[in-house]
């Protein structure tokens, strides 16, 4: 793990004042306890101001507008790309493709790299931990092109069975390993560098779903070993509607175009078109310029705090929360315990349906998620229809955990859960 010892603890009190929404109350005056950052993070005032500020002072469509506003907007958009590139250790800004979200980034890879490189009989290996966004695009290619999708299972603790991955790779048919860095349902931090090494030895490329890792841990693409990295802006303090696909420049340059339209071409005639260079080639149509700029502001907010410090903070919150949750009679916690665990806690309470648990927590002003978390294969593997999930970020503190524990004791009494 890249968590460093000796990082400064976060000044959570100060951080919380940066997030206007944390000042509001819910359910008849109860302070908001927001424990659903794995679904989407809250936004600091600086990000909200960057978004509004773009529209107030710099709004124009980018590229080829021969006037000051358009030049300014183009510069802001490309500066945001450079910030993202620096944030993840990319070799150059052109390696960052702006998309809507992680799902679109993975679909882009499936539709461009996948259609150019995968034929009937080729295998894409994914895992039972994946979000549907890293399963369905491969199922779609299986239905259309006859590729095969193979899954790596987990052990009882919720860690990937690397022996199964090696077994798949030995067949020699694997062209891509598509794996999540951090499980959104269990919080498992997968050893992606090790997975990438194994995959590369077998001649397969590696796509990493970074939706739950880039916002929470130091992620450097030079150390990650992945060929593709996909993540979303809205889970890392940025706005909805902006996400990122990263790949090495040479790999991106080898991809056929994704969507066709404005911005992605060099020339268009009545007979056909020639595509432009990356990144424009993969960003057809007017992009979410303001959202990209606001994502840049989110990175400006995260960087001085430091991703190692944020990770350390979530490790400490997890260490505070897990023993207190374990004491609740009838609770069952899922996911591994150890250094390879992010600030995500999935649980069930007796045989109470997770929607009921979440509904009672909501009455206490606590926002959690309940359901299958877009991981139906994992839920089936765990033998549950759903779980309740609490997830942390830099603005959460021990008081949030205390409120959660207290409300769960109450839920247990409401539904008569025995120990």
């Amino acid at each position: 793990m890249s968590t460093r010892v000796g990082t400064q603890p976060l000044d959570v009190h100060r951080i919380r004042t940066d997030f206007p929404i944390l000042q509001r109350t819910v359910r008849d005056g109860k302070p908001l306890v927001y424990l659903d950052s794995a679904a989407t993070s809250q936004k600091p005032a600086s990000v909200i101001e960057a978004l509004a500020g773009f529209y107030q002072t710099s709004n124009a469509n980018i590229h080829r507008g021969i006037y000051e506003l358009s030049e300014e907007a183009s510069i802001l958009y490309e500066e945001a790309r450079a910030k993202v590139a620096r944030f993840i250790g990319a070799a150059r800004p052109e390696e960052v493709i702006f998309v809507r979200n992680t799902t679109e980034a993975i679909n882009l890879v499936a539709r461009t790299w996948g259609t150019a490189n995968l034929q009937a009989g080729d295998v894409v290996v994914t895992t039972i931990l994946e979000h549907h966004s890293n399963i369905v695009p491969w199922h779609q290619l299986a239905a259309e092109r006859g590729i095969m999708v193979r899954f790596v299972d987990i052990d009882e603790a919720g860690r990937l069975r690397l022996d199964q991955l090696e077994g798949h790779l030995r067949t020699g048919s694997v062209k891509l390993v598509a794996v999540t860095h951090v499980s959104n349902a269990l919080g498992t931090i997968n050893p992606v560098s090790e997975i990438a090494r194994l995959a590369h030895e077998a001649g397969a490329l590696v796509l990493v779903d970074g939706a739950q890792s880039v916002p929470h841990l130091p992620v450097d693409v030079r150390r990650l070993g992945a060929d593709f990295l996909a993540f979303s802006g809205h889970k890392m303090l940025g706005p909805f509607g902006i996400g990122v696909l990263w790949a090495r420049y040479e790999l991106l340059a080898s991809l056929p175009p994704f969507l066709g339209g404005g911005g992605m071409i060099r020339t268009v005639t009545t007979e056909g078109f020639t595509p432009g260079d990356v990144p424009a080639r993969l960003e057809a149509g007017t992009p979410s310029v303001a959202d990209a700029v606001a994502l840049g502001a989110a990175i400006d907010y995260l960087e001085p705090i430091g991703m190692a410090a944020i990770r350390q903070h979530e490790v400490a919150l997890l260490a505070y929360a897990l023993p207190r949750l374990e004491e609740i009679p009838g609770i069952r916690l899922y996911g591994p315990v150890g250094e390879d665990r992010s600030g995500v806690i999935s649980f069930t309470l007796g045989d109470v349906h997770p929607h009921d648990v979440a509904a009672v927590l909501d009455l206490h002003g606590i926002a959690v998620r309940a359901g299958h978390h877009c991981t139906q294969p994992l839920m089936r593997r765990l033998g549950v229809v759903a779980t309740t999930r609490a997830s942390f970020y830099l603005y959460n503190w021990e008081a949030d955990v205390d409120r959660l524990v207290e409300a769960l004791h109450n839920a247990r009494r409401v539904f008569g859960v025995a120990g």
Binding site: D351, V352, H353, H355, D356, A359, V360, L363, G371, H372, V385, A386, N410, V414, F415, G416
Partner: protein, 126 residues
């Protein structure tokens, strides 16, 4: 403690009425909400056009299970025509708690299953 989980809802959830299955039901139907995993089966014993006996079984959230229990009490002894005429509002009023849009499917699953049984369906027409 709350509007949603009032005592009568919890009572029906923890002590469901007419729970179980019938040995030789005249009508039986089962359905689920795959997204949340709620599942309800309803068996009917008919006497002419009237519901002589009714049982429900299944699992899921408190709202879906309490609603099913309440519904069985509402319709026992009623005619199939009366059941066919039941609307969502009839059951929601009987529940008597605020049902948010997200929980509406939970609250109404049993009514959907009962109506399918009343119409004599074995499965949803495709």
């Amino acid at each position: 403690m709350s509007d949603l989980y009032r005592e009568h809802i919890l009572d029906h959830y923890q002590h469901p009425r007419n729970y179980g299955t019938l040995d030789h039901p005249d009508r039986s139907f089962e359905d689920s909400n795959p997204l949340c995993g709620d599942r309800i089966r309803i068996d009917l014993k008919l006497s002419g056009d009237y519901i002589a006996d009714i049982r429900f079984s299944g699992r899921g959230c408190a709202i879906s299970q309490a609603a099913a229990s309440i519904l069985t009490e509402m319709v026992k002894g009623k005619s199939l025509e009366e059941v066919k005429a039941l609307g969502a509002q009839d059951l929601l009023e009987e529940l008597g708690v605020p049902i948010s849009p997200a929980r509406r499917k939970c609250a109404l699953l049993s009514l959907k299953v009962l109506k399918a049984a009343a119409y004599g369906l074995n499965e949803w027409p495709s």
